[in-house]
């Protein structure tokens, strides 16, 4: 039983590291997260009981560690973040007129019908870069929503916001992502 974690380490550590690096862009942070993942796995091995695939289980632990990392980062840069959030809130508000209707410039790019974009690697890359540009707290909301199967209530509790604040963050983040795709994605 004991050596099983070591076996998993040899088998999956590179995949886990690659994923952590991809999500944090830091070698040191990625190594730390992989280490924490395996130490949690050692502690929680009894809970695992071969119920799922070990790789799936390890990735679920890692994803939670990645979110913890984003949360800590958002906390430590709170002042800067507030400034950025304020700026981005102004930006997203400026998409609408005083009646809360979309301002239309006529130069909008239509990409909504292009379902094949989901398989387009350039589009994915653009979206990935756009997510990285979001303020830490907004990115935390987006990553928590799409990376894990956490419920809205859980995410709100962890982020210490109420549900309507949370939806507003998701809403503004998606408006920024739309804008960022409009600006940066070349057909």
């Amino acid at each position: 039983m004991k050596a099983i974690i070591e076996e998993w380490f040899h088998e999956y550590s590179d995949d886990l590291y690659g994923w952590a690096y991809h999500k944090t862009s830091s070698k040191e942070v990625a190594e730390d997260l992989v280490q924490e993942t395996f130490l949690s796995a050692v502690k929680g091995l009894k809970k695992f009981q071969n119920k799922s695939n070990p790789k799936t289980w390890l990735f679920a632990i890692l994803n939670n560690k990645i979110i913890d990392h984003y949360r800590k980062k958002a906390k430590s840069a709170a002042v800067n973040n507030e400034r950025l959030e304020h700026k981005y809130t102004n930006t997203t508000d400026s998409f609408f007129d005083s009646n809360q209707n979309w301002k239309v410039s006529g130069s909008e790019v239509a990409w909504e019908e292009e379902v094949h974009l989901l398989d387009n690697s350039e589009f994915k890359k653009t979206l990935d870069q756009c997510v990285d540009k979001l303020p830490d707290n907004w990115r935390l909301a987006v990553v928590s929503k799409y990376l894990t199967d956490k419920t809205t209530d859980q995410i709100c509790q962890e982020m210490n916001v109420n549900v309507s604040n949370y939806w507003q963050i998701v809403h503004r983040s998606k408006l920024m992502l739309k804008k960022c795709i409009d600006n940066n994605w070349k057909h």
């Binding site: 991809h22 070698k27 395996f38 239309v104 989901l118 997510v131 799409y146 990376l147 939806w167 809403h171």
Partner: protein, 78 residues
Amino acid sequence: MRITEMVESKEDTELSFTERIKYRTHLAFCKTCRSYEKQSALIDRALSRLMSSTPKNSEPMDDAAKKKILDKIKRNEN
């Protein structure tokens, strides 16, 4: 609540009857809203995929880092 905001929150919280009517009526006359509704759904699906796709050609972890972690695992197992 801004109409566009409903695009996002309606997937989680059901809109009330009045809100639903307001939403549908507004969208019937708002081309940008209809386009955003679709873009928002597309972004949703793209984000879900993006978050679950493993990157290609990623570098393996340093051997030194691996050894360090493996040592820690062994110590914690005992």
